[in-house]
């Protein structure tokens, strides 16, 4: 069932495939984020409770949902890399980590900037904020581990193991943090969540979620390509590329 993956275990094939996919991803990502953001900022109606401050949702929710999805993607790549011994998959995982960390940081920061006008404080130890913070630490751990190995082939494998350990722990951490914050509900702060969002707000949100996902995909592909080149610097095909591009 995984046989189709095997040709792409070859770094050169993986590089070529990524080059082919990249323009599609980036074009779609740019146009979707453009449409979603303009729609969200200019055309979506003002929320009757939160006023215009709710417009942060159009970047906060995409970043928050994609931060988790990117971790899942990283861990799945790492899993493929460990189980089938495919180095390219390890490199993909290593390529996703910094992007995921930035997205998680954005989710945290926009959450704080939204929280200040709504709750009157930049930070609350709310379950979702806390687990997002822990997620950021998990990302930073993977990045730091990757950075501290000199041999990057090993580094990617070690970081992959850590990503898998992290992904097993994420549900446990999430559950425990939720349980903990329900236990300590001292403050009156609650995120007002309306399940029934009018379509005029929902569509730009969905468009931006998709756009963020594609953007993460596009960035991962770019980093993945660079990673492949760096790890295969002694291969003739990489040397040809280097000679064509590097000598100016």
């Amino acid at each position: 069932m995984w046989k189709w993956l095997h040709p792409y275990a070859d770094p050169q094939r993986a590089y070529q495939l990524s080059s082919k996919l990249l323009p599609w991803f980036s074009l779609l990502a740019i146009s979707l984020i453009g449409i979603g953001t303009v729609w969200g900022l200019l055309f979506a109606p003002t929320d009757y409770q939160q006023g215009d401050s709710y417009r942060i949702i159009f970047i906060h929710v995409p970043a928050a949902s994609m931060s988790m999805a990117a971790y899942m993607a990283m861990a799945s790549a790492a899993f493929v890399g460990i189980v089938w011994q495919i180095k390219s998959a390890d490199w993909m995982a290593a390529a996703i980590a910094p992007i995921g960390a930035v997205i998680t940081f954005i989710a945290l920061f926009t959450g704080a900037a939204w929280g200040k006008p709504m709750w009157g404080t930049w930070w609350v130890w709310d379950a979702r904020l806390t687990s997002e913070l822990v997620l950021l630490f998990l990302y930073l751990g993977v990045i730091a581990l990757y950075a501290s190995f000199e041999d990057k082939v090993l580094a990617a494998r070690a970081a992959g193991i850590l990503a898998i350990v992290g992904v097993i722990n994420i549900p446990i951490i999430k559950y425990s943090v939720e349980w903990w914050s329900s236990l300590h509900q001292g403050s009156t702060i609650k995120i007002t969540e309306k399940s029934a969002m009018p379509d005029s707000m929902l569509y730009p949100l969905l468009i931006n979620i998709l756009g963020f996902g594609l953007m993460i995909g596009a960035l991962s592909l770019v980093r993945f390509k660079a990673e492949i080149l760096a790890r295969n610097s002694m291969r003739p095909w990489v040397r040809e590329l280097a000679q064509a591009k590097g000598v100016k």
Partner: protein, 215 residues
């Protein structure tokens, strides 16, 4: 040990090793038969230790694989480990334990159940030092504690990295004798050394040369 001299115990298939963006060896293939004494030679930094570690399954090559009796060592790890005796740069001797305790532990985790440590330690001239903490022994005695394992083993594949370091002349001769006997009994020895050997002649020795690669 009924291995004919033609049995291929270990074979390297297109091994490539890359360290710090440098190719140590590329597409290296060879077979090691029962009865072989193989010396890996080459200048410092050519990748001798890396090759030994890959053959032992401690390091993973960048590409290629190592076969033990025609099976990938990563798939037959338990069988391979049971037939492999590896002595690396680091002796694997704990200085907090006595020579006797070290040997006992090393033999136990290799799975041996019935053994007397005193005669084995006598083989490596450690009689009288059985109860001494190895941390207090000399460098040569420390090394001998690690080597003692060679006198009580039924592993066919011996991989030894610089076995003669810190060993005196007589000790080297005894070791050479042991390697020769082991090979003649259907085992194989893969080693690196910078010392000249007196008993194992060049005719008996098979050499695999690694050179410093530029590309």
């Amino acid at each position: 040990m009924e291995t004919s001299q033609q049995t291929i115990l270990l074979s390297a298939k297109e091994l490539t090793c890359i360290r710090e963006e440098r190719i140590l060896f590329d597409q290296l293939s060879f077979d090691i038969h029962a009865g072989d004494i193989v010396q890996i030679e080459g200048p410092n930094g050519a990748g001798k230790t890396s090759l030994l570690r890959i053959l032992a399954g401690l390091s993973r090559p960048y590409s290629g694989n190592v076969l033990y009796l025609n099976e990938d060592i990563n798939h037959a790890r338990d069988e391979f480990n049971a037939d492999l005796l590896y002595l690396g740069h680091l002796p694997g001797v704990k200085s907090e334990l006595t020579a006797e305790e070290n040997l006992r532990f090393n033999l136990q985790i290799s799975g041996y159940t019935q053994f007397e440590t005193t005669p084995i330690l006598a083989q490596v001239n450690l009689t009288g030092f059985e109860e001494a903490l190895t941390g207090h022994l000399s460098a040569g005695q420390h090394r001998r504690t690690a080597l003692a394992r060679l006198w009580h083993t039924n592993c066919k594949i011996w991989i030894v990295d610089e076995p003669f370091t810190a060993i005196d002349k007589k000790g080297v001769e005894e070791l050479e004798q042991l390697f020769l006997e082991h090979a003649n009994n259907g085992g194989c020895v893969i080693m690196t050394t910078h010392q000249d050997m007196s008993i194992i002649t060049d005719q008996r020795l098979r050499k695999i040369r690694l050179d410093y690669q530029f590309l």
